[in-house]
Structures are given as structure tokens and as C-alpha cells.
């Protein structure tokens, strides 16, 4: 059934007949671009439904106006103008970037030594170490945040410990409900996202490069700053982006640990979609935040490129 004309090809007995493929299969075979899109297609569908459509809705909504419980659907940039004019939005936006900037710096600084240790000094069971480092992720985000509340609180672990040791007379109040509290908690929560890319970039470094640097006269410190750090920069940059972007928009940690000083733009956006019930305003703030982050991301990338070129 598969090939009725086999009998006609008696001359070629022994050689298996070339199987004809369908028209689409043939086209796929011929065009690499088509093959690429074909492989991508499930992802493309999900991306379209999950990102492009909601994004379009968000943009459209940001151009509407809220009237009571409904929307005025005439397109206007009034929300964006309000966001630019009212100082509270700008101030919160700025504070969010500063807090998550510090959180990013803290996370990368904390993760680097851990990743370095596993990459260079662990020779057995590397996988186990990596898994152990992702332990904070094994509980829910909310629980982790609450745990920090217990640690940092007025009668929390740190304060009671310091009081017991006689180092302080009264509990430290700045620990909880402050920007520091938010930075500490964010850094702890996101550390695994920083360890993995940094670990991968460190692991990839050819060990003979380090020996060569030593051979050419570098002590351990000089070698780190001249070889290890520059070669692991891709991991550091990836880690920075992975942490900076989501933490800027975070609202759970600041809501629970930030207090009035630690409020971030994410809280404001959440308020607009919740109690305030001004969805168009929330949508414009969300888009404004996104543009802001993209701009900072681009500046950061440009800076690393300049830095790299100057180093070389």
C-alpha cells in the first residue's frame, strides 16, 4: 500500500525506494526559517495569548478614564499627564528604583561568593550544593516574608538577641517597617536567581586562564579582578536584570515589611486596581514603570558595554 510502483522499479531491487514526503514536510525540510517558526509555534501561541493580548488590553485601558464603577472609553492621555504632574507618583517610582537597586546590589554581592565557592572549591556533589542554595524557594514567598517579620520585628529575633547580649537598651525600631527591611527581605528571597547565572558563568571559565594569570605574576586578588570578575560579568549582568526587574514592581514585601517609608510603586498600582478602583490609572502607572525599567535596563547595558571596551 505504501508504494505500489515498487514493482515498476525492478531494476533497482535491493535499494529501498525513496519515501516521498508530504508537501508541508518537504517545505519544512527545505526552509530553515520555516522550521524555526514551526518549532517556535507552541511558544508563539502562548506568548500571543499570555503577553501580547493582555499587553494590548493594558495599553488600551491606560488611555481610558474611570467614571465611578465604569469606564469612559474615549482615548486620552490624561492618566499619563496626571502621573507626570502629581509628585507622589514620581517620588514612589524613584523610591522603588532605589530600593530594588539596593536589593539587586545586595543580592549580587551575597550570591557571588556562594556561586564562587561552589564553582571553584566544591568538587563533589555540586548539584547538591546548588539545590541547597535554592532552599529559600521551597517555601512560599509569603511565608518567607513573614519569617523576616519575625526576625526583624520589635520583639523579634535580632532585637531580643541584642537586648539579651546587653548591646542595646531598647529594641531597634528601624529594623522593621523601613526600606532596609524591604531590601534585606528582597535580597534573601531572590538570591537563588542570582546564584545560578553567576555560578554558570564562573563554571564556564577555563581554569588554565587562571593559572596563566598566576603564571604571569598575578596574586589571587589581582587575578580575581583582572580575569575572574570580567569573565563572569555576563552572569552578573543576567543576575542583576533577573532581580532588578521583578523587585521594582514587587508589592507584597513592601506592604508587609515596608511601613509608610517602604511603600513602593507596586503598592500604588495594586491600590489602583483594588481599593481605589481606578484601573486606567493603574494601567498607565504599570506602563510608565515598564518604560522606566526598560530605559534603565538600556542605560545599564550601554554602561557595561562601555566598561568592557575601556577595560580591554
Amino acid at each position: 500500500m505504501t508504494n505500489t510502483n515498487v514493482t515498476l522499479n525492478d531494476a533497482a531491487v535491493g535499494a529501498p525506494p525513496v519515501r516521498r514526503r508530504g508537501k508541508f514536510a518537504g517545505m519544512l525540510q527545505r526552509s530553515e526559517t520555516l522550521r524555526g517558526f514551526f518549532l517556535l509555534s507552541p511558544t508563539l501561541v502562548v506568548m500571543t495569548i499570555g503577553i501580547v493580548i493582555p499587553f494590548a488590553i493594558l495599553i488600551t485601558m491606560s488611555l481610558w478614564t474611570a467614571i465611578g464603577f465604569g469606564f469612559d472609553t474615549t482615548l486620552t492621555t490624561a492618566n499619563y499627564e496626571t502621573a507626570l504632574e502629581q509628585p507622589v507618583y514620581g517620588a514612589l517610582m524613584h523610591r522603588s528604583l532605589v530600593i530594588s537597586g539596593w536589593a539587586t546590589v545586595a543580592t549580587v554581592l551575597l550570591s557571588y561568593p556562594m556561586a564562587y565557592y561552589v564553582a571553584f572549591h566544591v568538587h563533589k556533589n555540586k548539584m547538591m550544593w546548588i539545590v541547597l542554595m535554592t532552599l529559600p524557594f521551597w517555601t512560599s514567598y509569603l511565608l518567607r516574608v513573614f519569617a523576616w517579620k519575625v526576625v526583624l520585628g520589635y520583639e523579634g529575633v535580632i532585637n531580643s538577641g541584642l537586648l539579651w547580649a546587653g548591646l542595646i537598651d531598647a529594641p531597634l525600631e528601624f529594623l522593621l517597617y523601613s526600606q532596609q527591611a524591604v531590601v534585606i527581605t528582597l535580597a534573601h528571597s531572590w538570591v537563588a536567581f542570582a546564584i545560578l547565572p553567576i555560578y554558570v558563568s564562573l563554571e564556564k571559565i577555563d581554569r588554565s586562564l587562571l593559572e596563566a594569570a598566576t603564571d604571569l605574576g598575578d596574586g589571587p586578588v589581582a587575578r580575581f579582578f583582572r580575569i575572574t570578575l570580567p569573565l563572569s560579568m555576563p552572569g552578573v549582568i543576567a543576575a542583576s536584570f533577573l532581580i532588578f526587574i521583578p523587585t521594582t514592581g514587587d508589592y507584597i514585601t513592601p506592604a508587609l515589611l515596608g511601613g509608610p517609608d517602604g511603600m513602593m510603586i507596586g503598592n500604588l498600582i495594586q491600590l489602583q486596581f483594588g481599593p481605589v478602583n481606578n484601573w486606567p490609572m493603574g494601567a498607565s502607572l504599570a506602563i510608565g514603570l515598564m518604560l522606566y525599567i526598560s530605559a534603565i535596563g538600556l542605560v545599564f547595558l550601554a554602561l557595561t558595554k562601555v566598561f568592557k571596551e575601556r577595560m580591554a
Binding site: 577555563d206 586562564l209 593559572e211 598566576t214 603564571d215 604571569l216 605574576g217 589581582a222 569573565l231
Partner: protein, 365 residues
Amino acid sequence: MSKDAFISIRNVDKYFGKFQAIDNVSMDIGHGEFFSLLGASGCGKTTLLRMLAGFENPSKGEIYIDGQPMSEVPPHHRPVNMVFQSYAIFPHLNARDNIAYGLRRQKLTKQARADKVDEMLDLIALPGYGDRAANELSGGQRQRIALARALILKPKVLLLDEPLGALDKQLREQMQLELRALQRQVGITFVFVTHDQEEALTLSDRVAVMSAGTVLQMDTPSGLYEAPKTRQVASFIGTMNFFEAQVKSTNGAMMNIEAQGLGNLQLPRGERHFNEGEAVQVAIRPEKLRLTDDKPEGDGQMVQGQLRNSSYLGERSHFYVAIDGVDRPVAVSAQNRTRFAPDPTDERPVWLNWSDDAIVVLGKD
């Protein structure tokens, strides 16, 4: 330690866990010498080189460079530089910065540094390549940059870990010549690790043949080739025909040996002074045997055999001759001096002859 030894390795052992990589090695390397460590992989040659560089420390024994004991000196303070097998060119730096890498510790002006790098680029015949990024360099170019990077620091010793292994044959031969010329030019002691015996013979003033963590023999290239001390060295360097033999009688400096297949041989007793009745081996290089169709004139040493097969290699041919009483066919190498010589491949009876000094007598081990 001999007086003119520049590098002196004294009774060095090296263990990795329970595995002994180096077993009581001692050697002296002279100033300005091109010295090679030759051996199959796993023989300890790279470990020895890494101990000179300071990346490994001897478990026992001491290494002296220019009279200074080295075991307490960290690698970045040793007066040696290394060319790595993988070249280890820093991928984030261009050729110029790779070469200038080690200069940072010498406080030089920008101009002085640039001049030094240019000088090096000229030396390695890559002028104008300074601004090439690391990934724009070919294998041979990387090899030269790695060389320049080490030489610019004017080390007392340059260590080379199979630096030509990754190059294709033609480039490798060219680099061998350049390396040798460069070594003469800069006058630095080179310690060169290789598993390629031809390369070791071509380049070196002296070669140490290593196996299983020990030095089998240390000699000049011709010494190793023409006067190997053990069967292992004789078979590792080039091709060698071996014949079982026994010392029949000795007479002062001469001895009479009965060799399987070759008959009675009158030979000098040599350094080892073999005793009467001792079982020995007689060895002869393929190119020292002459192959003829007709019985050679005169009454020199000769034997008749049957030509089995041959291979044509262009400038020379290899013949394999079966001799009565010898298990393996004897290899003979001959230059193809005439063009279109009659086809030598037919199986036929042939004669082999040789001169007395072509024969090496080895102990039975």
C-alpha cells in the same frame, strides 16, 4: 647538584592521593638549554612541568632554579613563565593586552609598555596584529601570542606544555623551526613537554624520556636514537628491530654474541660489560640494514631472508623481511634514490647486510 645546573630537580616524588605520579626523579638542566620531557600521556611529564611552574608542589624532594629552592615560592613569584597547551589566551583582551598582561607589575609608562609589546609582536612575526580580538586569532597566531606573553617578562625559564599539539602538521613543522630559532635568539632555558618523539628530537639539546613517573634515559637526541639504554627507550624512539641473543664468550673489550636469526656477531662489550652466558638483546634500526637481491660481496655480516611486504612512502620505502628463527619480520627502510625503480613489492628471497657499529646490545629487561 652539578655546578652548571640552572634547574636542579632533586629526588622529587609526587603523590596525588595514593597515586604516585613522579617517582624519585632527579635531573639537572643547564642554562640556555632546550630540554624536552618526552613520554606517553600519564608518564608524569606534565606534572613535572607544573611543579617547575609552581602549580603543584613536590611531595618529597626539592626543585632549585638558579640556585634558589622553589618549594616555598608561589607560582606568581617564580622566575618562570609557561606556554599552556590550550594557550590560555584571555578571551576578553585583545592581542596587545594579552601580551602586556604580565607587565603590570613592572611600573612602566604607557609608551614604554607599548614599545615592548610592539617589539614582541615583531619577534613573533605578527606586527600590526595587536588590536585583534582574541577570537579573531587563528591557532598558530594564538600560539605565538602565548609565547610572546611569556617571553616579554624575560623569564629565566620558559615552560612549554605541548604547545604545538593543536596545530596541523605543516604549521607545526614551521613553528618547530621558529621555536628553535627563537630559543637561540633569546637564550632562555626552555623546558618543553611533548609526547611526539620526532618533535623532541628535532627541537631539543637534550631529552628526558619518561615512563610511569620515572626517567628512563636522559641524553642528546642522537644519543637516545643511536644508543638507547633499554628496550623501552629503543622502541619508544623510532622503530627498532630486536633479536634475542646470548653472550657466548668475552675477550677483553670484545664479546661474541649468538643472535637468533643473525648468527654470530663480534661486538665491543660496551659500557655495561655483559658477562659470558648472559642473555641479551641485539637491536638494529631499519635504516641501518641494507637490502639487496644478490648476495653482497665480501665477508661482512649478512643474512638471507624472504621479502614479505613493503610500503611506499615517497622519499623512502619500508620492507618487511622474514628471517628463519625470528618471530617478527625485520623492518628495513631504504631511500628511494632512483626514480621508477623496479617494483620492489614481489615476494622473493633477499639479502640483508649491515656494518658492525650499527648493532646495539641491550640488557635482557
